[in-house]
Amino acid sequence: MTAASDTARDEAALSVGDLRVRLRARAGIVHAVNGISFAVRAGEIVGIVGESGSGKSVAMMATLGLLDAQIVEQASGLVTVGARTWRDIVVPDPWTSRSPELAIVFQDAIAALNPVLTVGAQMTDALAARHGLATGPARARARELLDAVRIADAARVLDSYPHQLSGGMCQRVMIAIAISAEPKVLVADEPTTALDVTVQAQILDLLRRIRDRTGMAIVIISHDLGVIARMASQVYVMYAGRIVESAPAGALFADPRHPYSRALLQCSPRIDRDDRASGAIPGAPPDMRRRRPGCAFAPRCTQATARCGAEEPALIPAGVRSVACWHPVGGGRHD
């Protein structure tokens, strides 16, 4: 553990230490998460960015104890929420163990709701089960929660079936259910990827308001650097199951040090610039079934040397940021 994460952990709402997950897949063992640590303070919005297969979703599922035990080959790590610490990453009954402190919102909100029950029935059920509320108070609380996620006609939505609602509305309902237990940390796994851009703006704005009002910490997972830039104050960049760079958002976007972070930023298309996004990243993400020695990004990296192919660089803190690279780029100045 580094000094930086020690100080962070003192006041952390959630801290994760040396998380490792291997999953069983049809074609072999997938090294999904290979030793990541991070911490989130109360009221902070942390962004985790990475492409598909980077392990960002698996890492968060493991943190919440939501991994399907059937497919886990091996999982280890330390999850601390407030005063409680869990050492067992795979748990038999996820909802009773970590849910009051941790809650999650998924990408596909419509699929996460039961299609044959009204939204109201599902919400009151959840509230009755979790807080022992009777039907009347549970429904009142459900309306309150829908108001909290800025749904104007809460009564109509409560009596609707999920397919009668838009994707954005379903996502609001999911957020309402997630915050009903007043968690310390809300994990949002690609919460707006399935949504239109104007709806995305509404949902991101809603998450921010909830943070402002309740002071809960938010971990937002996204492949979209724009979403991360809009939301997060601290950013972790993941590649091949590891954190390759972590930094405050301002520093990361102004001056990314890891060649992958830099390339990702350079090839993200922007609406505010005319210049063609320069240089696609050559090659494709690595096959997570085979672990190669050295840096996982080396085969696609323009700066790679012999050392990169042989030794895996550790995540080394330097000032406010940490970089896992033998030849970090950019930045003459030290921050």
């Binding site: 074609a27 072999g28 240089g279 696609a280 050559p282 090659g283 494709a284 096959d287 085979r290």
Partner: protein
């Protein structure tokens, strides 16, 4: 363009993992041997064992299995093992023929209904409903009474009574395939409907049909048995597996082996066909490669 992912070779990790024969497994090999044995029985059995299978020997009536008669003897003293071997040819001819007829008719109707939709769908599904509302046995009696009970008629009757399952399954599968983007992509490059059906729809619908067929095979063997029971199936003294079970029903309490021999044979054959069908389906499906 600088380096691109295109330069990478196709992902062959899974393909190199195990050869098709490794995935075949010992159990499947045993079933394959069994089916080969049945095939040999069907081809050569009648030539060698016809006499033991057909001629009654009343002094050997209802003998339980022993060293001389491995599966025992039946009510008129015929060796059950010999009868099972000889019965392989008529039974398998009718079963495979019946399944094939049902498969072809059902696939045709189901594909048309699913792909064309509209009034074609209504007509095809009306055919299916008419068939469902018409008692199978009554239909069989009618056809056989008019045309006689030779093998070809039996095959047609059994096939026609079985097409409904294929048609229903195929219609559902085709509806799903029709909604796949690759069908629209084929239309966009100018493929005709016939071409799309032959190249995309039918090959992608094959595996569910194979599964249905392997289940249907058992149904067909048993249907032949019930037709034999009312005297419309394979005519005695020619034995059939279903007919043998039927004949043994009255002796279930006293001479269980009359039923058990052919029963085991039907079970093993059906199981073998369905297991090999499964294996074949997985091997033929390149989408399962990775």
């Amino acid at each position: 363009m600088t380096g691109i992912d295109a330069a990478a070779p196709p992902d062959d990790a899974a393909a190199s993992g195990a050869s098709p024969w490794r995935r075949f497994g010992i159990l499947n090999a045993l079933f394959a041997l069994w089916l080969i044995a049945m095939l040999i029985a069907a081809l050569f059995g009648p030539a060698f064992l016809a006499e033991q299978a057909m001629l009654p020997r009343l002094d050997f009536r209802l003998k339980p299995p022993d060293a001389a008669n491995w599966l025992g003897t039946d009510a008129v003293g015929r060796d059950i093992l010999a009868r099972v071997v000889v019965a392989a040819r008529p039974t398998l001819t009718i079963a495979l023929g019946g399944v094939a007829v049902g498969l072809v008719i059902g696939t045709l109707i189901g594909t048309l209904a699913g792909y064309c939709g509209g009034w074609v769908n209504l007509v095809c599904m009306a055919l299916v409903d008419i068939k469902l509302g018409f008692p199978t046995i009554l239909f069989a009696i009618g056809v056989i009474a008019v045309f006689g009970s030779d093998t070809a008629n039996l095959v047609i009757v059994i096939g026609v009574t079985g097409f409904v399952t294929y048609a229903r399954v195929q219609r559902g599968v085709v509806l799903k395939i029709k909604a796949q983007p690759y069908i629209e992509a084929a239309r966009a490059v100018g493929s005709s409907h016939a071409r799309i059906l032959a190249l995309h729809v039918v090959p992608n619908a094959l595996s569910p049909l194979l599964i249905v067929a392997s289940i249907d095979l058992v149904r067909v063997i048993l249907l032949e048995a019930s037709l034999s029971f009312i005297g419309l199936g394979i005519q005695p003294p020619t034995p059939s597996w279903g007919g043998m079970i039927n004949a043994g029903r009255d002796y279930l309490q006293t001479a269980w082996w009359i039923c058990v021999g052919p029963g085991l044979v039907i079970m093993l054959t059906a199981l073998g066909i369905s297991r090999l069908g499964d294996w074949l389906r997985d091997e033929l499906d390149p989408s399962l490669v990775t």
